[in-house]
Amino acid sequence: MQFKDYYQLLGVEPSATAEEIKKAYKRQARRYHPDVSKEKDAEQKFKEVAEAYEVLKSDDKRREYDQLRTQGARGGNGQFTPPPGWESASHYSSAADQAGGFSDFFESLFGRQGSFHRAQGAGDTMRMDGEDVHAELALLLEELHLGSEQTVHVRVPEVDVHGLVSHRIKKLKVKVPAGTAEGSVLRIKGQGAAGFGSGRQGDLLLKIKLAPHPLFSVDGRDISLVVPVLPWEAALGCKVTIPTLQHKTRVSIPPGSQSGQKLRLAGLGLAGNPPGDFYVVVKVVMPPTIDDTAKALYQQLAAGGDTSPRPWENQP
């Protein structure tokens, strides 16, 4: 264990008065306090300064420390060992005492306390950042496209001052921006698990899932709609009315369209930058019933046709 020179940490002489020690602590605390300092490793340095002040501000602890400073055993490698049988008279045990997150060196001299009680006191830089909480949010396609306000319930862990973990259900209203894509993660700052001490609050990470749509299928920002057409509509071409995310629109199916042919409506997919496209997928279907008139017409077509849709039958 390395010996800590508390006087050096505060930048004062071992003969410094209580007033000088207090002033030195204030100066160093102002410089390294994690809430105000931009210094590198400020938190670790503030811990050391707070620990030094915890010892040197108390007459009893300072007397004991001075005694150890001169009598403690130090090996050739500079390692420090308290004298055999050492026990502090000003044992550190009260929750009202000002300490926390102190070094092994400090604890070997003045004892230690349950870790969670350390959260109280001037030396408290004990901190534990709250965990990020992950959840999923299923939305309809229209809600993704237009944006929506959703109420979500998430279960987050909480740690009380005694270190006990419990869970509670948080109810949050979340605004989902228009054009949010499936698989996006919404980060809601400060809505995850609570931090401990000066630790930051975790975030809530909501992964957006897409609920199945009865008409549309989605690929990234592109949307597809299968449009059934009758054989003569496919053969002669036709105009059909289709729904899109924005509104209903008319689309021309070109003559001679085959099943599976795609027609692209640029920019009519999901909102975004750039927006996705909307694809009409032609699907030729037979009418549910064929009456005698239709049957006769089909027979005329069959008699006149000399090309098979099956390529292996057209080979010479």
Binding site: K26, A29, R30, H33, D35, V36, F46, A50, A119, Q120, G121, A122, D124, H153, E158, D160, V161, I169, K170, K171, L172, K173, V174, K175, V176, P177, T180, A181, E182, G183, S184, V185, L186, R187, I188, K189, G190, Q191, A194, G197, S198, R200, Q201, L204, G220
Partner: protein, 109 residues
């Protein structure tokens, strides 16, 4: 599947601590909280039993407590100190953004 991280605002009406919950779950003590409320560090209404504290309010109160305890900032100066610290953070963030944009434009120049 693309994963985009967006930052959105949340209305956390289901996550507010009462005074009792806050003193149980944090190092804050009721008299300090009451003093901060009187100084306008946390906005609440009604009687103390009706007070509700949001997560940002809790973080602000805890920061105020650390400044008060560790740096001996007088309670009456806490609103000013917190406001100045928040403004410094904001200005640092804004300066970083402007520098990033400047670098971007210099790269295209």
């Amino acid at each position: 599947m693309t994963t985009t991280v967006l930052t959105v605002e949340a209305d956390a009406d289901g996550l507010w601590w009462t005074l009792h919950q806050l003193t149980s779950a944090s190092v804050l003590q009721a008299d300090f909280i009451a003093e901060c409320v009187a100084l306008g560090l946390a906005e609440v209404s009604g009687e103390p039993v009706e007070w509700r504290f949001s997560p940002p309010a809790r973080m602000r109160l805890e920061k105020a407590w650390r400044l008060h305890r560790d740096l001996e900032v007088p309670a009456s100066a806490l609103p000013l100190v917190l406001q100045l610290l928040e403004e410094i953070d904001y200005l640092h963030a804004e300066a970083a953004q402007l520098q990033a944009r400047l670098r971007h434009w210099e790269g295209h120049g």
